[in-house]
């Protein structure tokens, strides 16, 4: 019986007695990874060197090439989590793959939500003069982060996988209701946070600043897709670990029952 000697997977996801391909990458993820890195590098070059400073914010404006894109990708992650959860709850489309997608997109979304909060805080210190203030946009973004961290914790509670997937799906949909409220917070309430710059009939940004900002959305979108695919495949490997580990344990146990 050699639990560890047959493992070609990472320790956490290694099934016993099996040696299937265990990585999370393939040609698609390689292309995505290269495209993400190139577009991020291009965004950094345009944002830090080519695009001009702002007439009001000066050099601080360069955070606009990180913060809004991270926030948008965070919304996409949580929205995707809600849609996948909905697909899981719908009897006709119920499949374990939707539950995996919900888990993966929520986790990547939480990472980008943390990036949003951190870069926003740095930008706020420079432009507003404070690291943090309790206005509607900031409060709701912090709340969004907290509830999705709670969702991820809920997913780790164990128990029957199907029951866990169902309750997680319901919670994900409830959590994602905060996304549109957070997005429209600057329109619905008085906030220190500025309103929308791009999503209006006449965008309030032009020229190289606009092009660099649009490129940042593309770069962060590619990065999100890259991380999402890898994270989804980790979910697949974890499932395989549980299933194959279970089958292998039974086989080992029966083998140990044979005398001599």
């Amino acid at each position: 019986m050699a639990v560890s000697s047959v493992s070609v997977l990472p320790a956490r996801v290694a099934p016993v007695g099996a040696a299937p391909r265990a990585g999370t990458g393939n040609s698609v993820t390689k292309v995505l990874g290269v495209a993400s890195i190139v577009s991020l590098a291009l965004t950094a070059w345009l944002g830090l060197d080519v695009s001009p400073p702002d007439v009001t914010q000066g050099e601080l404006v360069r955070l606009i090439y990180v913060h809004p894109a991270a926030a948008t990708v965070c919304y996409v992650g949580f929205g995707l989590c809600a849609l996948a959860s909905l697909a899981y709850l719908w009897p006709r489309t119920r499949s374990r793959r939707w539950d995996r997608l919900a888990a993966a997109s929520a986790e990547v979304g939480v990472v980008f939500c943390a990036v949003t909060l951190i870069t926003g805080s740095i930008w706020g210190r420079g432009s507003w003069g404070v690291w943090w203030t309790w206005d509607a946009r900031l409060t709701l973004t912090a709340l969004l982060f907290a509830v999705f961290v709670g969702y991820l914790a809920l997913r780790r509670t164990g128990g029957d996988p199907e029951a866990r997937a169902k309750r997680s799906a319901v919670v994900a949909i409830l959590c994602a209701l905060l996304v549109p409220v957070d997005h429209y917070a600057t329109s619905w309430w008085t906030t220190l946070h500025q309103g929308n710059t791009l999503t209006r009939a006449n965008p309030l940004i032009h020229g190289m600043q606009l092009y660099t900002m649009l490129l940042s959305f593309l770069a962060f979108g590619l990065l999100f897709a890259w991380l999402l695919v890898h994270r989804y495949r980790v979910e697949v490997l974890e499932d395989r670990y549980e299933e194959e580990g279970f089958a292998a344990a039974i086989a080992e146990r029966r083998a140990e029952g044979v005398p001599g």
Binding site: V3, L143, A146, A185, T197, L204, E242, A249, V258
Partner: protein
């Protein structure tokens, strides 16, 4: 021999007809997680619900009415008294700094309010820019202890030959009176 799942085997199992030892069905393997125990689950739930409750409390208390514009603050002056609140307006072209204090006026909807700020304003503070101030009414002026710059959602490339926009000049209107 211990299995990966730590499953106990009994040596007293009776042998079957073919000489094999009957093995009871193996319990399902469970992945051990940090939140596997009820105590930890309860602790995590308390921490998360506490954090959410705190955020909601803060949000309900502050976020929905984050500030009053200068004209609203003047209209509500009697009810506000010396209570701490936030006021919003655009800085006029009358900024004076002396003795560690910054003296200036803000206006909103044709109402001007004189402000005395006791702290250093942020780097983007200048005439013509909207600000949100934390403080309270103190006699004829607003005593501020925090200045926050409320920049707009509009961005323009800075050019060396660009002329700075001029803020409206200070009027002689007393604090709380009608502005330009």
């Amino acid at each position: 021999m211990a299995l990966s799942g730590g499953l106990p085997l009994t040596s007293e199992s009776p042998p079957e007809a073919d000489g094999r030892v009957a093995v009871p069905p193996a319990p399902r393997l469970r992945t051990r997680t940090f939140f596997g125990s009820p105590g930890r689950r309860l602790g995590a739930a308390v921490v998360i619900l506490g954090a959410i409750g705190f955020l909601v409390y803060q949000g309900l208390g502050n976020a929905t009415v984050y500030f009053k514009t200068a004209d609203q603050a003047v209209a509500d002056r009697a009810s506000l008294g010396t209570k701490q609140f936030r006021i919003e307006g655009t800085v006029q072209n009358d900024v004076r700094q002396a003795g560690g204090q910054t003296d200036f006026s803000i206006y909103a909807n044709r109402v001007t309010v004189r402000v005395v700020d006791s702290k250093e304003p942020p780097q983007l503070f200048k005439p013509g820019i909207p600000v949100v101030l934390e403080g309270h009414w103190s006699g004829s002026y607003f005593a501020s202890d925090l200045v926050m710059v409320k920049h707009s959602a509009s961005y323009s490339a800075a050019h060396p030959d660009r002329l700075e926009p001029q803020a409206p000049s200070s009027s002689s209107v007393p604090a709380g009176g009608s502005g330009p």
